[in-house]
Symmetry: C2
Subunit: 339 residues, 2 copies
DNA sequence: TTGTAAGCGTTATCAG
DNA sequence: CTGATAACGCTTACAA
């Protein structure tokens, strides 16, 4: 910038003003400065700018992972929101570990104006403590009362209960469940929904298998199931595991849904492309991301928004994978999709 | 930091030294400072730090998109590389537009030490000009001679030719092609590979349909194909479009591979889970991302590395979707996967 | 070993 | 309308 000032024969202050379109600059000097800046292809140093302005125009995002269909879809929404607000996104992965999340948090101080953190951990308060009100904080997938400025989540209990109810109504009697990570709040709520729906129907829940929300754990769980009498249906706590499960079962020659019905949770983009298309609890993943970022930006701007804990209600998406073909009087719809 | 200094009864310089483990600090003062810093839960301001240190410990990444299986997988690799080097990732999307990419580039000045940019655009030199050597730059998916410090790409021509050859060898006579965006270099090379393989085999290529690398364009292309006599096989320029194509064909009651064989490009994670599993050109997506970041970091550190344009050779991944079941003497392998 | 002060590249205040 | 100059929060000579 000094160079530009020198060449243009003005002071750095004037350069700054000209570049930022301050009104109090002669048309001549402005033109001159812009010309020189262009010649020297000067690009303002965003780091210095934000130090001076006390604002970075960036939102920090910390997610358990940055890959996989679920996070990919979430990131799509986050990006959308950021674009809408003309903010940058600083993404970081905590790899499912609170301490890593906190470390990421620390490196973001002074780099971002606000934070969107997904913290499905039981000990998520640590995170809020770490931020300590220093920065606007929006939490994702967290239980209520978290002390953040805002929180967005999914009604996991209702979603899981709806899927379970659907499976029971289809006439499936024993339903096996592939669980998520034990310390994951989303997973805990889904399991509760699964159990409560059974209790309400007066049916004994099938076996609950260990899982970690990743595809391979769905695969392994299916292998376990194959060693005993197969259940009528399998409900995986997310679509990724349902995918792995589907794969393992098909490898074993099990026909879905004829031999075993299958359902998942999330409605990730591929769910509808599987064969058979997957019944699942539809979550507006991208939409949640978008709203989270936009809310965060609003907090940064100081727009007094009431602290919220918004809970999105999943919609039951019935596709072919859950159909009970053993039962009479269940005429398959042509496309197999209802909502 | 001033607060810490005041409370600890030392100068800010000492605080800085204590926090950064400078050797010339008494054990006592250090302990004292650390204690106070902890009490006040002081977190260094990364922005100010980098202004002073002239280094941000962050790598900027600009991709056409941040979502979808392909980019998701790429981001996994980028994150891996960044973690290995203990760097942060500043991600941005150019949405397939050079000017947006350049805009993103500008906002990154002073925020990152180096750049990894995916620029499959025909006018990618603009990008290099924009950076103007100010920052180490690693390019992805770019044609050679780009003027960047390093470039990583895929041998698209070889990959597409291999897939085409495979389809021809399977006995498919007319092969339709779903193309990528016209101004995309990867897409251009793949089309060339498709054509050259036909020429080498003395077979006339089937129809080439317009596409944009996204799922829905594969779907539309398939609808077009369904209006005429179906080809023996369809080769989509990437897996996402193959997925869309698969979906449309199946909706129409077309059996794959019996009625029409199908192949894609990339080997995204779901490819093996489709029904039938998808034949494709396997690209080590995540690995490319990891290497790109690590190379970028090395450039930042000034390790004199020779400028490279590394080209990864795709591996032909044959799965069930390309089998010619109309031909005699093609006994299906049990898993249907070979490499 | 520690403190003082200059500097990183901007913006903003305050005189001129 | 424009130019000095003090921040912004940190690091690092240079002095003490």
């Amino acid at each position: 910038m000094r160079d530009v000032a020198r060449v243009a024969g003005v002071s750095v202050a004037t350069v700054s003003r000209a570049l930022n379109g301050s009104s109090s600059v002669t048309g001549d000097t402005r033109a001159q400065v812009l010309r020189v800046a262009n010649e020297l292809n000067f690009v303002p140093h965003a780091g210095a700018q934000s130090l001076s302005l006390q604002r970075t125009d960036a939102i920090g995002v910390i997610l358990p992972d940055l890959h996989g269909e679920y996070f990919s879809e979430l990131i799509r929404g986050l990006d959308l929101g950021a674009r809408n607000c003309r903010k940058n996104l600083l993404l970081s992965a905590s790899h499912g570990d609170v301490s890593e999340a906190i470390a990421a948090l620390r490196t973001m101080r002074g780099r971002v104006d606000g934070l969107v953190v997904m913290s499905p951990f039981t000990d998520g308060e640590l995170l809020v403590d770490a931020v300590n009100g220093a920065t606007p904080l929006v939490l994702l997938s967290t239980q209520a009362g978290s002390g953040a400025d805002a929180a967005f989540g999914v009604d996991n209990h209702a979603g899981a209960a709806a899927v379970t109810r659907h499976l029971l109504e289809e006439g499936h009697r024993t339903i096996a469940y592939i669980n998520g990570p034990a310390d994951n709040l989303d997973a805990q709520e889904r399991l509760r929904g699964f159990r409560d729906a059974h209790a309400a129907a007066g049916v004994k829940p099938g076996p609950v298998l260990r899982g970690n929300f990743r595809e391979d754990s769905g695969f392994s769980a299916a292998l376990l199931l194959l060693q005993k009498t197969l259940p009528d249906a399998v409900f995986a706590a997310n679509d990724a595991m349902a995918l792995g499960c589907l794969h393992a079962l098909r490898n074993a020659g099990v026909r879905i849904p004829h031999d075993v019905a299958l359902a998942g949770f999330d409605d990730i983009p591929v769910a509808r492309f599987l064969d058979p298309p997957l019944t699942t609890a539809g979550v507006p993943i991208a939409e949640i991301g978008r709203q989270a970022v936009e809310r965060c930006v609003r907090l940064v701007q100081g727009d007094a928004v009431a602290p919220t804990h918004a809970l999105f209600a999943p919609t039951l998406v019935v596709r072919a994978s859950s159909r009970n073909t053993r039962r009479a009087g269940a005429p398959p719809s042509p496309t197999g999709e209802t909502t």
